[in-house]
Amino acid sequence: MSHRAFPWFGMDIGGTLVKLVYFEPKDITTEEEQEEVENLRSIRHYLTSNTAYGTTGIRDVHLEMKDLSLCGRTGNLHFIRFPTHDLPVFMQMGRNKHFSSLHTTLCATGGGAYKFESDFRTMADLELHKLDELDCLVRGVLYIDSVITSGPSECYYFENPSDLDHCAQKPYTLENDYPLLLVNIGSGVSILAVYSENNYKRVTGTSLGGGTFLGLCCLLTGCSTFEEALEMASQGESTHVDKLVRDIYGGDYERFGLPGWTVASSFSREPEHRWDLARATLVTITNNIGSITRMCALNENIERVVFVGNFLRVNILSMKLLAYAMDYWSNGQLKALFLRHEGYFGAVGALLGLLHPS
C-alpha cells in the first residue's frame, strides 16, 4: 500500500501562533526502521521525546491522540505550538535538521503560509503546499470529532450554564449533525455556517478577538503573555471597571427586560487594580463575541454553535461566559459546544490535506 512518505506534518501559521500537528507512526516495521533515514528518525525523536522546544515551543501533551488510525497507519498525533514571531527559529531548526532532504511536502495553512512562503523557500529550502485556512478548519473539526478515541470526549458543553458555580462540563457527540455555526476565535474571529463537510460559508468575522484581549491587556496591565493575562483576569473583578445596568437604574431596567447585572457600558469606571482591567477586557471581548455569534445564529437559523480557537485555551472563564450568554439570551434555544483541541483544527486539516488531497 502506497502512502505519503513520512514525516507527516500539518501546519497552521496564524497571526499570533503557529500550530503544528505531527503524526508519529507507532507501527513501524523492522524493515521500515532499517530504511528510515537518520534525519527522519532524528526529527521523530526530537519531537516525541521533548515537551518543550526552544524557549517558546510547547507540546500539548494532554491533547495527544494515541493509537490513531490514519491512512492505514497507526500512531500518535502530537500537538505543538509556538509564537509566530519565532517562526524564523523554527525554519532554522528545519534547516539544521536537513528537513528538506526528506523531500516531503509541508502542508501549511493560515495567513502565514502565504506571508512566509518565500522565507521557507530561502531559509529552509522548503516548498510549502498552501491550503485555505477555513477549508482546513472545517475539515479538521469534522475529522477529529469523527475519530473515536479512548479518553475524554472531544466535544463537550456546560450543564447549568446559568449557574456559574455549579455548571459542569458534559460530553457531547456532534455526529455530523448539521447545520453548525463554527466560531473560530484566534487573533481575530471568523464565524462559519457549516452545512456539510464540503458546504460551508463564512458568515462574518470580527477584529475583536484573542489578539485584542492580549493586546489591550499588555497595554493596560503591562503583562506580556496570554497565560499572564488570563491569570490576572482570574483574580480580577470586571464589575469594578464596568458600569452595570443596576449602577444606572438601581436595579433591573424593567421597561426593556434587562437584568441589573447586565453590563451597560464596559470600561466606564475608574479601575482599582490592574487585574480588574484584565478581567474586564476578557469579559468584554468574550461577551461581544457571544453577542455577534448569537445574532449570526439567529440570522442563519442555526441552533448549535461550536467554539474553537486558541483564545479558549486554558480559558474556562470565557467558555463559561459564552455558554451562559448563548443560553440566557436565547432562552435556552442555543447550545454552546466546545472542542478539546481548541486551536489545532486548522493544522489537522492541513495534515489531512497532505494525506487526502481533495
Binding site: G188, T206, G210, L216, A264, S291, N299
Partner: protein, 774 residues
C-alpha cells in the same frame, strides 16, 4: 472664544454673563410666557425644553362692509396689523456647568406659568433633581430615557424636513440630507451613549429594545483615558483623528502578507484590533491607540447594528447618542463600518437634532393633554442655531459657538400639513431643483444675491410701517440677523438641512417675522390689485373676441406676462406704476418668442381640443396683474370648459405673493363684474383654498390637509404651478400622477444662464405621466 470654566455652586448670574456669549434673553426667549418645561440632563450637556406663546404682529386684510364702503374712499380693502399669539417650542442646549445660573435666570423670568411639574430625563436627572426643585419650585417628574428618545425621534422625523442625513467625509458636501419620507416607520435607532441600545420602532407607541452592547461611548472614553491618559472625550476624538491605527492593529496583510483574496478580504482590513500591541516591549503613540480604539468600537457597533437590521428586515438605521452627536470622526467610522458590513444595502443615517431627542420626548410626555402630535410644527430658522460642525478643522467662528449655547425653535403651525395626494412617489419627491449644499457655484451666487438684495428688503420693511418710528431700528436688527444667517450658511451650508433658494427665502421670511415685519408688501399688493382690477373686464372682453385657438395662446401669454410683474423685476415695475395697461402689453412684448426655452404649448393645445379636465388645482403666485389679468382669465376659460378649479394660495404673506385672504376679496370683486366667475363661485366649481405655507416657494410634501382632502374629493386631474419660486426653484422636476402644467418666466439672468436660456425666457412645461393617455 469664551472661556468655559466650571461654574461653582455659589456663583450668581454675573458669572453667566461672562461665560455665555449671547445675552441670556437672546437664549431663553419668551421665557415670560413659558407654560411647560422638560429637561434632559446628560453626562455633559443639559437640554431644556419649554413651550411658550409668542405674540407677534400679523397683517390681516378685511373687505370693507358695504355700508362703510363709500367712507373707505378708494381703498380696495382694509389692511390691519393685529397681534396674534402662536405657540412655539424652545429647546436650548448648554453645558451642565451652567445649569445653576440657567435655573436662576429661568426663575427670575418665569412669571406666567401655571405648571407645577417639570418632566426630566437623562442620566443626570436624579443628580440635579434637588437643585431644580429648590430653584424653580417645580416638582421633578422623571420619564424613561428610551421612551423620551423615541418620542423625540418620531417628532423630528415627522416635522422637520431634512432632519436625517448621510455622512460622506470625502464627498463635495459632507452631509447628504434625506427627503422626508411620509412613512417614517419602521426604523432602527442605535443609541450610542455609555453603552449601546438598539431599538426597533414600529409606530408612534410601539417600540422595542431588541438588543444592545456594553461596548459604547463609555468604553471609548474609559479605555481611551486609560490608554492615553487623556480625560476629555473631545480630546480623545481629536487624538483619534490624527492617529494611524495600522501600527496598533493587526491587519489582514500582517497575517497574509497581502489580501485574503478568496474571501474578498482586503489586506488593509483589520484582522485583530490591538493585535500588534500584544507585546511588552514596544511603545505606541496615544494618537495611534485612540484611532485603533475608535475603529474597534465603531466597527463593532456597526456590525451589531447590521446584524439586527438584517434580522428584523429594516433598512433605515439612525444613529444617535453622545458618541455620535455631530462628531464627524465618529459619523465617518460608523458610516464606514455600515458600508462594509452591508455592502451598501443599509445606510447609516444621522439626525440634525439628535442631541434634542430626549428633551423633546420628555416635553411631549408632559404635554400629552395638549396633543402636540396633532399639529404640524415647523423649524423656525430665525430662532434656531442650526447644525454646528465640531470638526477641529472648521473655522474659528463656529468653534466659539459650539462650547456655549445651541437653540432650536419650532413653531406650531395653524394647519396640519400633509403630502399632495397627486405626487407620483412621495418618498422620492424633492421640492428643490438645485441643492446648494452640493453645488458650490450656485451656492456662492445665491448667497451673494441675497446679501445684495438685503438693503432693498430693509428699505421696503421700513417703508411698510411709515407711522412707526422704531421701524428703522427693527429693520436694522433684521438686517443684522439675516446677514449673520447668510454668513453662517456660507461656512456651514448644511446648518438647516440642504441649502436651497427656498430655504434662503424662508429664512428671510422668518427673520422678518421675528422683527415684526409681517407683510412688508401689503400696501404695494393692495395698490397693484386695485389697479389691475380696473382692467379686468377689458382684458376678458378682448380675449373673448379672439378665435378659440388664438385665445388659448393669448391666455397662456397672459399668465406668463402677468408673471413678469414682480418687485424683483425693477424695470417692469416702473412701467406698471405709470400705466398698467401699457405695462401688461410691454411685459408681453418682452416675453421670449416661441419656441420657448421649454415649450410644450402644442401638446397643451392638442389636449385642450380633447375632453375637459374634471378639476384643476392651480398654485398661484403674485398679486396684481399676475393673479387678476393673467391667472383669472385662464381660470375663467377652464371653468367655461367645464373644469372645476381649486385656487391654492399662501396662508401667510411672502413677498408680493397673493395670500388666501387677499384672494378671497379679489375673487369677490371679480365675481361682481364677471358672471362666469360669480356662478362658478356660487356653484362651488371655483374654490379658494390655502396651501398652509408662507413661502414664495412650494413644498408639495407639506400642504394644508384641507387642500389635500379637496384634491381627493374633486378627483383632481390637472395641477398647474405658476411662477419662478414654485415652478423653477422648486418642483421643476416634481413628478405628478396626473397631468401637470408648470409656467414661469425666468426673471434672474444667472438662473436663465444656468437653464440655457436668457432673461425673460419662458418655461412652459406640460407633462402627462407615463402610461396615461392624457
Amino acid at each position: 472664544m469664551a472661556e468655559c470654566g466650571r461654574v461653582d455652586s455659589n456663583t450668581s448670574s454675573h458669572t453667566m454673563d461672562k461665560s455665555i456669549t449671547l445675552p441670556p434673553d437672546e437664549i431663553f426667549r419668551n421665557m415670560e410666557n413659558a407654560k411647560r418645561f422638560a429637561i434632559d440632563i446628560g453626562g455633559s450637556l443639559t437640554k431644556l425644553a419649554y413651550y411658550s406663546t409668542v405674540q407677534h404682529k400679523v397683517a390681516k386684510v378685511r373687505s370693507f362692509d358695504h355700508s362703510t364702503k363709500e367712507a373707505a374712499g378708494d381703498k380696495l380693502y382694509e389692511i390691519a396689523v393685529q397681534e396674534e399669539v402662536t405657540a412655539r417650542l424652545h429647546f436650548i442646549k448648554f453645558e451642565n456647568a451652567y445649569i445653576e445660573t440657567c435655573l436662576d435666570f429661568i426663575k427670575d423670568h418665569l412669571v406666567n406659568t401655571e405648571t407645577k411639574v417639570i418632566k426630566a430625563t437623562g442620566g443626570g436627572a436624579h443628580k440635579f433633581k434637588e437643585l431644580i426643585e429648590r430653584k424653580l419650585g417645580l416638582k421633578v417628574d422623571k420619564e424613561d430615557e428610551m421612551t423620551c428618545l423615541i418620542k423625540g425621534c418620531n417628532f423630528v422625523l415627522k416635522n422637520i424636513p431634512h432632519e436625517a442625513f448621510v455622512y460622506a467625509k470625502h464627498a463635495d458636501s459632507e452631509f447628504r440630507f434625506q427627503t422626508t419620507n411620509p412613512d417614517i416607520f419602521p426604523y432602527l435607532l442605535v443609541n450610542i451613549g455609555s453603552g449601546v441600545s438598539i431599538v426597533k420602532v414600529e409606530s408612534e407607541d410601539k417600540f422595542e429594545r431588541i438588543g444592545g452592547s456594553s461596548i459604547g461611548g463609555g468604553t471609548f472614553w474609559g479605555l481611551g483615558a486609560l490608554l492615553t491618559k487623556t480625560k476629555r472625550f473631545d480630546e480623545l476624538l481629536q487624538l483619534a483623528s490624527k492617529g494611524q491605527h495600522s501600527s496598533v492593529d493587526m491587519l489582514v496583510k500582517d497575517i497574509y502578507g497581502g489580501s485574503y483574496a478568496c474571501l474578498g478580504l482586503t489586506g488593509d482590513l483589520i484582522a485583530s484590533s490591538f493585535g500588534k500591541s500584544a507585546t511588552a516591549d514596544k511603545e505606541f503613540s496615544n494618537e495611534d491607540m485612540a484611532k485603533s480604539l475608535l475603529h474597534m468600537i465603531s466597527n463593532d457597533i456597526g456590525q451589531l447594528a447590521c446584524l439586527y437590521a438584517k434580522l428584523h428586515n429594516l433598512s433605515r438605521v439612525y444613529f444617535g447618542g453622545f458618541f455620535i452627536r455631530g462628531h464627524p470622526v465618529t459619523m465617518h467610522t460608523i458610516t464606514y463600518s455600515i458600508n462594509f458590513f452591508t455592502k451598501g444595502e443599509v445606510q447609516a443615517l444621522f439626525l440634525r437634532h439628535e442631541g434634542y431627542l430626549g428633551a423633546i420626548g420628555a416635553f411631549l410626555k408632559g404635554a400629552e393633554e395638549d396633543n402636540p402630535n396633532q399639529y404640524s410644527w415647523g423649524e423656525n430658522y430665525a430662532g434656531s442655531s442650526g447644525l454646528m460642525s465640531v470638526s477641529p478643522d472648521m473655522n474659528p467662528m463656529q468653534r466659539a459657538r459650539s462650547g456655549t449655547f445651541d437653540m432650536l425653535e419650532m413653531d406650531r403651525l395653524d394647519r396640519q400639513l400633509v403630502n399632495l395626494p397627486l405626487l407620483q412617489d412621495p418618498s422620492s419627491y424633492i421640492p428643490d431643483t438645485v441643492d446648494l449644499t452640493e453645488d458650490a457655484q450656485a451656492r456662492e451666487y445665491w448667497l451673494s444675491c441675497f446679501e445684495e438684495a438685503l438693503d432693498g428688503v430693509v428699505k421696503r420693511a421700513v417703508a411698510s410701517q411709515p407711522d412707526i418710528p422704531e421701524a428703522a431700528e427693527r429693520a436694522e436688527k433684521f438686517r443684522q440677523k439675516y446677514l449673520h444667517k447668510l454668513q453662517t450658511l456660507r461656512h456651514q451650508p448644511f446648518a438647516y438641512g440642504s441649502l436651497t433658494v427656498r430655504s434662503l427665502l424662508d429664512t428671510r421670511e422668518h427673520c422678518l417675522n421675528e422683527f415684526n415685519f409681517p407683510d412688508p408688501y401689503s400696501k404695494i399688493k393692495e395698490r397693484e390689485n386695485d389697479i389691475a382690477l380696473k382692467y379686468y373686464e377689458k382684458a376678458v372682453k378682448s380675449l373673448e373676441e379672439l378665435s378659440w385657438e388664438d385665445r388659448q395662446f393669448a391666455l397662456v401669454r397672459g399668465v406668463l406676462a402677468g408673471n413678469v410683474f414682480d418687485w424683483g423685476a425693477k424695470a417692469v415695475s416702473e412701467v406698471l406704476e405709470s400705466n398698467p395697461e401699457f405695462g401688461f402689453e410691454e411685459a408681453k412684448r418682452r416675453l421670449e418668442d416661441r419656441p420657448w426655452l421649454v415649450d410644450s404649448f402644442d401638446q397643451w393645445l392638442e389636449r385642450l381640443k380633447g375632453p375637459p379636465h374634471r378639476c384643476a388645482l392651480f398654485f398661484v403666485d403674485n398679486s396684481g396683474v399676475d393673479i387678476i389679468l393673467g391667472v383669472m382669465p385662464f381660470v375663467r376659460e377652464l371653468l367655461s370648459r367645464g373644469t372645476e378649479v381649486v385656487l391654492a394660495s399662501n396662508s401667510g404673506p411672502a413677498l408680493n405673493d397673493v395670500t388666501n385672504s387677499e384672494l378671497q376679496i379679489l375673487t369677490e370683486r371679480i365675481a361682481a363684474m364677471d358672471p362666469v366667475i360669480d356662478s362658478a363661485l356660487r356653484e362651488d366649481r371655483l374654490t379658494l383654498v390655502q396651501d398652509g405655507s408662507s413661502s414664495p416657494c412650494l413644498d408639495l410634501s407639506r400642504l394644508d390637509k384641507v387642500l389635500a382632502m379637496l384634491v381627493r374629493e374633486r378627483q383632481t386631474d390637472l395641477v398647474i404651478i405658476e411662477g419662478m419660486g414654485r415652478a423653477i426653484h422648486t418642483n421643476y422636476y416634481a413628478m405628478l400622477s396626473c397631468e401637470s402644467l408648470k409656467m414661469a418666466v425666468i426673471k434672474n439672468s444667472w438662473l436663465a444662464d444656468r437653464l440655457g436660456g436668457k432673461l425673460f425666457s419662458v418655461v412652459f412645461k406640460y407633462e402627462v405621466p407615463a402610461g396615461k393617455p392624457h
